[in-house]
């Protein structure tokens, strides 16, 4: 089929793809212009919102001395490891719960407690058990990331039509095969939505962990910058977090775009 490409169709598709990819950049540009405008018109005191140039110079300084990269790398590490753990648990437990609804009733107090207890309440435990290094932050990330993955996995797998389940049963598919070839692809759109939430929450998890006790990481940087009234650096750190979150989010969105390619076919 690929050999029969219709040349007429290509430019339009090409244009649309680029439009999609460039759209976020356009929005970002627009925001910067808006920001400059606010600064120029003095709508918000520069103490609270420094102009883009000030932030840009703070950025270039933080980049030049390598500090930003070091902090970002720490946070990224915490995020990624936490994400892997949280998502791994979320998927597994979500699958199990989807299969055994009573389990949801049994575990919900535990799971909801885990998600809704503010970190300050168990900060001492975290510091004592996991020290002041990355481990504690990995845990906070894993905890916050776990929940959306879990509930979306449950919802995704439960949404499966029983007729397809019958098909797989009749083909004597193993549990793993059923998961791999039926449940996972069917639940994927919903699971990926959960991952979108998780990927942005991962930043929050890591940073909040860093607020409690940390030397490195963007959370530590933001606190340090804030305590020195270095608002441009605060904004640089915040934007770096957003960048990390956006990167992860885009990755998930890209996976979604690839994996759900078959869906786009039916929209003629």
């Amino acid at each position: 089929m690929q050999s029969q490409q219709n040349p007429e169709l290509r430019p339009a598709r090409f244009r649309r793809k680029w439009l999609r990819m460039l759209a976020p950049l356009g929005t970002i540009l627009l925001l910067i212009v808006l920001w400059q405008l606010i600064a120029s018109l003095g709508l918000i005191s520069p103490i609270l919102l420094p102009p883009p140039v000030a932030v840009a110079s703070a950025l270039s300084k933080a980049l030049a001395d390598g500090s930003l990269l070091k902090h970002a790398a720490t946070t990224l590490e915490e995020m990624l490891v936490g994400l892997c753990i949280g998502v791994g648990f979320g998927l597994t437990l979500g699958y199990v719960i989807a299969k055994a609804p009573l389990l949801e009733n049994l575990l919900s107090p535990l799971i909801v407690a885990l998600q809704s207890t503010p970190i300050v309440a168990y900060a001492p435990l975290l510091v004592i058990w996991f020290g002041t290094g990355v481990t504690g932050k990995v845990i906070t990330t894993a905890i916050i990331v776990f929940f959306p993955t879990l509930v979306n996995t449950v919802a995704g797998i439960r949404s499966l039509e029983s007729s397809l389940n019958d098909l797989f049963r009749s083909l004597r598919a193993s549990r793993w095969q059923t998961f791999r070839h039926l449940e996972l692809p069917a639940a994927l759109p919903v699971i990926l939505a959960g991952l979108k939430t998780s990927s942005t929450l991962a930043v929050i998890g890591a940073v909040v962990g860093e607020f409690v006790s940390a030397r490195y990481g963007l959370g530590a940087l933001v606190i340090a910058a804030r305590s020195r009234y270095d608002t441009p650096l605060v904004i640089v750190s915040a934007l770096t977090m957003t960048t990390l979150a956006l990167t992860l989010y885009s990755l998930v969105a890209y996976i979604e775009w690839r994996v759900l390619a078959w869906r786009r076919r039916s929209t003629t």
Binding site: I47, V127, I128, A214, R226, S227
Partner: protein, 356 residues
């Protein structure tokens, strides 16, 4: 005073707490009202307090001195007009058995600290400098605001804390046998080594220029309230009850305090000296200790401890030397940029001097 009381918001840090007793006394005993203010209190993080004062969202705030220097180095034109804490409240807490009174002993020890920011970090830096040490000579552990737990579980050798509060908490844990091998704690306060500028009242430069008369009234009212708190802590505690909901308020305890407050005001009418007043506080503490448990007394004891940090012959005066010491400390920490901060602009004693 004006006919119409002026609504005024004072931004404090942290959460409502007996350590803010002078403000509660100012409200409850009517010092602010006499000066023509209807005061309300808000609690925010320190940087927020400072920024909101700097941009004119609130006229008055309370932050520690180093914040003023840091903020001024970042173009916040705030002025420190009343040094509330005469002594820097930060210090080192450790097991008395492990004698660290010679600060040189700190070498290679693990020191817990909330994080590399704020008063505790400046305090630690100043202490180390005084002992001719640097951060690399010790092990710094960022433990957040969890010092008692972390210390008692033996994860650090010493912790940087507010000396009016945490040592007391840790001592209580030790008394209950919940603090490992620690029997008794010892503290070394920063103030005993260096004079650093500490918490005080800030306003914006704009307010200072526009309405110095109002500032004068506010500073005067606060000075009175502070003195009243120092003079009569039992009455201050009673005034705090309306503002700090979780204070212990057993009837017998409140009755005892009520009686003590009355006795103290009689005593005060004899115009005792500052030393005599201080003795009266010690006496009151001892007297209460024989009737009430440490749990009931904890917050009151904190108040008494804190009063020691406030008390001075003339309240509110800050001197350039302590500002300079703080400035040097911050510079050592690398927290200040190249451009020098003009310290004489950072604070003003004009209102304190003009009281009476």
């Amino acid at each position: 005073a004006q006919d119409q009381p002026l609504d005024e918001r004072i931004l404090l840090t942290f959460v409502p707490n007996v350590q803010f007793a002078p403000f509660y006394v100012g409200i409850e005993a009517g010092y602010f009202a006499e000066a023509g203010f209807a005061v309300s209190l808000d609690h925010l993080q320190e940087p927020e307090v400072l920024d909101l004062v700097a941009v004119g969202q609130a006229n008055y705030g309370v932050v520690s001195g180093e914040q003023v220097i840091l903020a001024r180095s970042q173009n916040r034109d705030v002025v420190y007009v009343f040094e509330w804490f005469q002594q820097y409240p930060v210090g080192l807490v450790y097991d008395r058995a492990l004698d660290l009174s010679d600060l040189g002993e700190l070498r290679d020890k693990t020191i817990g600290i909330p994080g590399r920011f704020g008063a505790s970090y400046s305090g630690l830096t100043a202490l180390l400098h005084d002992a001719n040490l640097t951060e690399t000579d010790i092990e710094v552990s960022e433990i957040g605001f969890n010092a008692p737990e972390v210390f008692c579980l033996g994860l650090v050798d010493a912790a940087v804390v507010y000396i009016n509060n945490e040592p007391l908490q840790i001592q209580q844990l030790a008394n209950a046998g919940d603090c490992g091998d620690v029997q008794a704690v010892a503290t070394t306060s920063v103030a005993s080594q260096v004079d650093l500028v500490s918490n005080g009242l800030i306003i914006s430069r704009a307010l200072l220029d526009d309405d110095p008369a109002a500032v004068q009234r506010m500073v005067g009212a606060f000075a009175k309230a502070l003195r009243a708190t120092i003079d009569n802590p039992a009455a201050a505690y009673m005034a705090s009850l309306a503002h700090v909901e979780s204070l212990p308020r057993e009837i017998s305890f409140l009755e005892a305090l009520e009686a003590a407050a009355e006795a103290q005001s009689d005593f005060l009418s004899e115009l005792p000296s500052r030393a005599e007043v201080a003795d009266s506080r010690v006496e009151l503490a001892n007297q209460l200790k024989s009737h009430f448990g440490s749990g009931t007394l904890a917050q009151f004891t904190i108040l008494l401890n804190t009063i020691e940090l406030w008390d001075a012959d003339q309240l509110g005066i800050s001197d350039l030397a302590s500002w300079q010491a703080m400035h040097d400390t911050l510079q050592r920490m690398g927290f200040l940029g190249e451009s020098p901060v003009e310290l004489s602009d950072a604070f003003s004693n004009q209102f304190v001097v003009a009281i009476e």
